[in-house]
Point group: C2
Chain length 190, copies 2
């Protein structure tokens, strides 16, 4: 779409959709919100929301400014040899922290999850259906074990990057892999 003087440009339309999405996710939770409802609140056609974002989970990623697309996470987990899952996941997460562009929204997410039960509930609904269910189904691993692996990753983020406890904060990535990848792997070996 070209920008014209007569109607909102793609940037404004995209922002209007994201604002509507935040409102719908806040009101209905991740599970209850729909592309159709988001489009209606933004005053656009549902096809336009699909055009801009593709799917509800990608609308959520953009609206919540998540530091990564869980579809990439799911691919990382599922693709490649099963014995390398732990290391692949860990290296993906560690790489997200190298760049301030992905680090800043990670901090913002930790803050908003821990200060707002509503945000925590939205993220929970999203994680359960967009990440957990897909990984569990693709690998045939019980959801509780996938959450065990996820909890270890979240804990590494908190300890290494939010609290910044030494010597973990300045351990290099190979040391982190040697320490934590076997644990992540353990949760997927069933």
């Amino acid at each position: 779409m070209a920008r014209t003087g007569r109607r909102p440009g793609p940037t404004q339309t995209r922002e209007a959709i994201l604002a509507a999405a935040r409102s719908q996710f806040a009101e209905r939770g991740y599970g209850g919100a729909t592309i159709r409802g988001i489009a209606a609140e933004a005053g656009v056609n549902a096809a336009l929301v699909h055009h801009f974002f593709g799917s509800k989970d990608k609308v959520f990623v953009a609206a919540m400014n998540l530091p990564f697309d869980p579809a990439v996470l799911v691919e990382t987990v599922v693709d490649g040899p099963r014995s390398g899952i732990g290391e692949r996941i860990l290296r993906l997460f560690l790489s997200l922290w190298r760049e301030p562009d992905t680090r800043a929204p990670f901090f913002a997410l930790v803050r908003s999850v821990s200060s707002s039960p509503e945000v925590a509930a939205q993220l929970r609904g999203f994680m359960e259906s967009a990440v957990l269910a897909r990984v569990a189904a693709a690998l045939g691993v019980p959801r509780l074990r996938v959450l065990g692996a996820a909890s270890q990753m979240v804990g590494v983020v908190m300890m290494r990057h939010v609290i910044g406890a030494e010597p973990m904060a300045s351990a290099d990535e190979d040391e982190m892999v040697a320490l934590v990848a076997p644990v992540i792997q353990h949760y997927f070996d069933v």
Copy 2:
């Protein structure tokens, strides 16, 4: 000490010490603050701070309203058979979450650590000297591995209680022990 009309009662004195402690920890960090400096700021004798709290780490626990005394955590880790460390730590943490009295300050701590780099720095200094160094020395385990175990515990708290992802949020304690205790144990088996 009896309450009198002429001088502050123990409650006010205790609160004055805690206010001075928060100020000193904020200004100097955990490592830099001293009982003597806290007493001076509160306008009391250092012996009175020892009388009320016993040690700097206990002043910190009270001033920051920490949900548990790390001395208890250290004892839990160190006492008893080494092969049961994972289960003992996990059951201690899970028990802290059963009661709203300890759960509320845990949430407050997660919020303040993730929103304030200063609080994160204070907590980091405290953890490194009051918990990490003691556990590492008592068990002869490298600090990085102790932090691995700590990161798994923090992650369980985030996933089960802050995000509340199912089925982990409503798993019973025995299920959690079966899932996570072997991982905690792994970090201590060197």
